[in-house]
């Protein structure tokens, strides 16, 4: 598997009715009580700590897992911790129909694969994508495959800048590749 492909177990952030939760804000992802934390390793335990029904996520999540969320994921604050907490848990990919602008940039800059997928709402309500499913995602081709359900879907490929930052590792490593940019 190349750098731009990942396979992992899916966590679908859905509500009681089985629909993706929309507008999950950064206080639900990483509460402002813990903003003083600067060590990434200490952030994982607080991931989704204020999202009703998901407070045990850090105990359940494993390396390489894929988080699937509803539209406007990461609304609210500019806190990098809301991205870093997933990096601490070694989450492999975050997918949603859309993200808040700041959240999306923060993930791109930290080298966490973050991908927009317009089909997620239909896939989730149609039970073609459920928590526990194994999914393979191709970042550059913009396609995904749910192995258990034999379901293909498409997603927005990484943009050139996102691809280049991800390839380098993060924004800092990317900047060092050019004298003018870091």
């Amino acid at each position: 598997m190349d750098k731009f492909t990942r396979r992992g177990r899916v966590w679908v952030l859905a509500d009681g009715s089985g629909r993706l939760i929309e507008d999950i804000d950064t206080d639900q992802i990483f509460h402002n009580s813990f903003l003083h934390i600067t060590e990434i390793a200490e952030m994982g335990q607080h991931a989704l700590g204020n999202l009703e029904g998901w407070k045990d996520f850090p105990k359940k999540a494993g390396p390489g897992d894929i988080v699937v969320a509803g539209r406007n994921f990461g609304a609210g604050s500019s806190r990098q911790q809301a991205v870093d907490c997933f990096i601490a848990l070694k989450v492999g990919v975050i997918m949603a129909p859309s993200f808040s602008s700041i959240y999306f940039r923060n993930a791109v800059n930290s080298g966490l694969p973050i991908l927009r997928c317009a089909e997620l709402d239909a896939l989730v309500t149609g039970r073609q994508l459920e928590t526990g499913d194994e999914v393979e995602v191709h970042f550059l081709e913009g396609r995904g495959h749910c192995l258990g359900k034999k379901q293909d879907f498409s997603l927005e490929p990484m943009s050139p800048v996102q691809r280049d930052i991800f390839r380098a590792g993060d924004l800092f490593a990317f900047g060092r590749l050019s004298d003018r940019k870091g």
Binding site: E22, D23, D25, D27, Q28, H31, N32, S33, L35, H36, T38, N50, E52, R71, N72, A75, G76, S77, S78, R79, Q80, Q81, V83, S98, S100, S101, I102, R105, N106, N109, S110, S159, P160, V161, D170, L171, F172, G175, R180, K181, G182
Partner: protein, 416 residues
């Protein structure tokens, strides 16, 4: 092809083509970090760029506003980490005495029309109120910008929001803003730059422009601009910032992906009920909802004018027994104006708790939290679950908050 306001600002700060969808390298006039995010920036900088100079110390700032002065050891440590870094690198700190960073940058003449300003504050886009491109960013972005003076940015599409009709005189800037949140939700201007037009916004004072532009964040927009501006507001901005101000306008042939018309006719005071700023009702529909506390302040409603509105209602009255009203001016300068004009005295005599400037009361800072079961009415910009404690938060303008605190339940000034 003509350019929208955001395209003009971006084009003035990049060698790349500022067209929607294009990623450009943007020159940043001001780079800042708060006591939230700031220590992370310092840590990143010392790990990635140890011994390397900042791109421009005179364009780099810390603004402490979240927990000011620190009431936890963690924040005290965080602020000291930033102060030490600032001393070592000869950059200026607007310390815990100064107030909300975005407002301080405005008052200092650092956030200028047509300028580019970033910081670790998701309401940095409030600076659209003075025609500056402000943008909140995370600590990785800010660290990179401290070192390089640049960032990458995808030029957003622009949408035109045209407001028609006349609101009732009792509906102020916050009511208009909450109504727009109801109409636009988090979808209609999401990830776009919005330009607001029409007499209702053209007639706003600086405080009103700040109220509207701050809550573009809650509409999921990149930023909002108000190209039309009263002469009195222009003068107000010039006096405050000490710099000439002319509102930036779009070209006649600028391209918008959408034009949205909204009718304000007869608009009355509005309130956003928990758990979202877009969950908006006419205040009269929520009249009678019992409240335990009130808060007036934040980047959204923390200017002198906002407190003057509250003071007019509270002068000669008392807030209801057993209820607390917290007052937090946006900046030290606002605080001074409130002192000079006797506004603080009116608020104090009505029973309010007057606190030093900052973000406390809106963020979980130095001004206290809501407890389980507590119902608060606030002039802040967010009422997400758990944002200011375990209680519930209703969002409103200063007039509705003041009247509600007198009566002990959600009410408008007309109910007094």
């Amino acid at each position: 092809m003509g350019k929208t306001v955001i395209e003009k600002i971006i084009q003035a700060h990049t060698a790349d083509e500022a067209a929607p969808g294009k990623i450009v390298w943007l020159d940043l006039d001001v780079r800042s970090a708060r006591d939230f995010g700031g220590p992370n920036v310092v840590k990143n900088y010392e790990r990635e760029y140890a011994g390397m100079p900042l791109a421009g110390p005179s364009q780099t700032f810390f603004t402490f506003d979240l927990c000011a002065p620190a009431c936890t050891l963690k924040y005290a440590d965080s602020q000291q980490v930033c102060r030490d870094f600032a001393r070592k690198n000869a950059i200026r700190v607007f310390d815990v005495d100064r107030g909300v960073g975005t407002h301080v940058l405005l008052e200092e003449g650092l956030a200028r029309p047509n300028g580019t300003v970033i910081g670790t504050d998701s309401h940095m886009n409030i600076l659209g109120a003075v025609g500056a491109f402000g943008q909140g960013m995370g600590d990785v972005d800010i660290t990179f910008a401290f070192r390089t003076g640049k960032t990458w940015f995808e030029v957003p599409e622009s949408v035109k929001v045209v407001l028609k009709g006349t609101a009732q005189p009792s509906a102020l800037a916050k009511d208009l803003t909450l109504f727009l949140l109801k109409e636009l939700g988090t979808k209609k201007i999401a990830l776009r730059s919005a330009e607001f037009y029409g007499p209702a916004v053209a007639g706003l004072s600086l405080a009103g422009r700040l109220t509207l532009c701050s809550m573009v964040t809650e509409m999921a927009g990149i930023i909002g601009f108000i190209p039309e501006c009263l002469t009195s507001t222009k003068e107000e901005i010039e006096e405050l910032s000490g710099a000439p101000f002319s509102p930036l306008t779009a070209d006649d042939d600028a391209v918008y992906t959408e034009v949205i018309e909204i009718d304000l006719q007869g608009l009355s005071p509005q309130v956003a009920a928990p758990p979202s700023p877009t969950n908006v009702y006419a205040a009269t529909d929520l009249r009678g909802t019992k409240i335990d506390s009130g808060f007036i302040g934040s980047c959204t409603n923390g200017r002198t004018e906002d407190f003057a509105v509250a003071a007019r209602i509270l002068k000669g009255r008392r807030i209801k027994e057993g209820l607390m009203l917290k007052i937090v001016p946006a900046t030290r300068r606002v605080y001074e104006e409130l002192l000079d004009r006797g506004i603080l005295k009116d608020l104090f005599e009505a029973g309010a708790i007057v606190v030093n400037p900052g973000c406390g009361g809106c963020a979980e800072g130095h001004v206290g939290l809501t407890g389980r079961g507590e119902v608060q009415i606030s002039t802040g910009n967010r009422n997400f679950a758990g944002k200011q404690g375990k209680g519930q938060t209703y969002l409103a303008g200063p007039a509705v908050v003041a009247a509600s605190c007198v009566l002990g339940h959600i009410a408008g000034p007309e109910d007094l």
